[in-house]
Symmetry: C2
Subunit: 141 residues, 2 copies
Amino acid sequence: MTIHILQKEALTPDIKKQVHDLFKVLNADINQRDIEEVLSQGNEFICACCWEDEKLVGMASLATYKVISGYKGMVEDVVVSEAFRGKGLGRKLMERLLVEGQKLQLSEILLFSGHHRKPAIALYQSLGFNLKDSGLYTLKL
Amino acid sequence: MTIHILQKEALTPDIKKQVHDLFKVLNADINQRDIEEVLSQGNEFICACCWEDEKLVGMASLATYKVISGYKGMVEDVVVSEAFRGKGLGRKLMERLLVEGQKLQLSEILLFSGHHRKPAIALYQSLGFNLKDSGLYTLKL
């Protein structure tokens, strides 16, 4: 099992399909942005991928943005293939994103997680994330 | 009273100082990123500013990022000068950010707000924002 950061130059039709298919495990209904377009942002977007025998079995993304209050990273789209859960892959992916966030000298990393997702929340808290006394509000355009 | 989008080319030492001082009303303790550096990101960052007699009396920012699950905007650093509250400036700033988000064809706009900030939450909900059943977790680096 290896974890590395997905590079735009490494994309092949097969890898693009694997990213697309794995994302569907997380959310089959969403209109996915093309991974090539997303990776075209350069250092502002990092996708950590976990491979097992050339099969993509997990991924997690870190999108960054700079505002007056800091240089922040938002963790998004964390998913592990069903057959590979319970092996600590989610933790390894998150740990890799934290290393990348430190390299970028982010001031803060954010994420949001459904209140019912107890194992994910336990993982995030064990990595040092703290629940903020704030609600997350969204507006679909 | 006029609202416009702050442009990097329009920055003067006076405007930079006004941005810095107004942000302090929101949070006096935070280590602010330089507004010139933040605006250097181009279209990825939008700061709506409200001016009254050449005085900056309110501002609100929209930082954007692209991930597989969408092209998203995060509202950050919304502040109105104390003497100008209760006049609907927060709403006008937010409405302007929503227009900019539509122009960029964002799929979704996110924000988080402290549970105790009742007037702000009422404003966001009246603009169509919905509370998600998710917690926001942060890790300071």
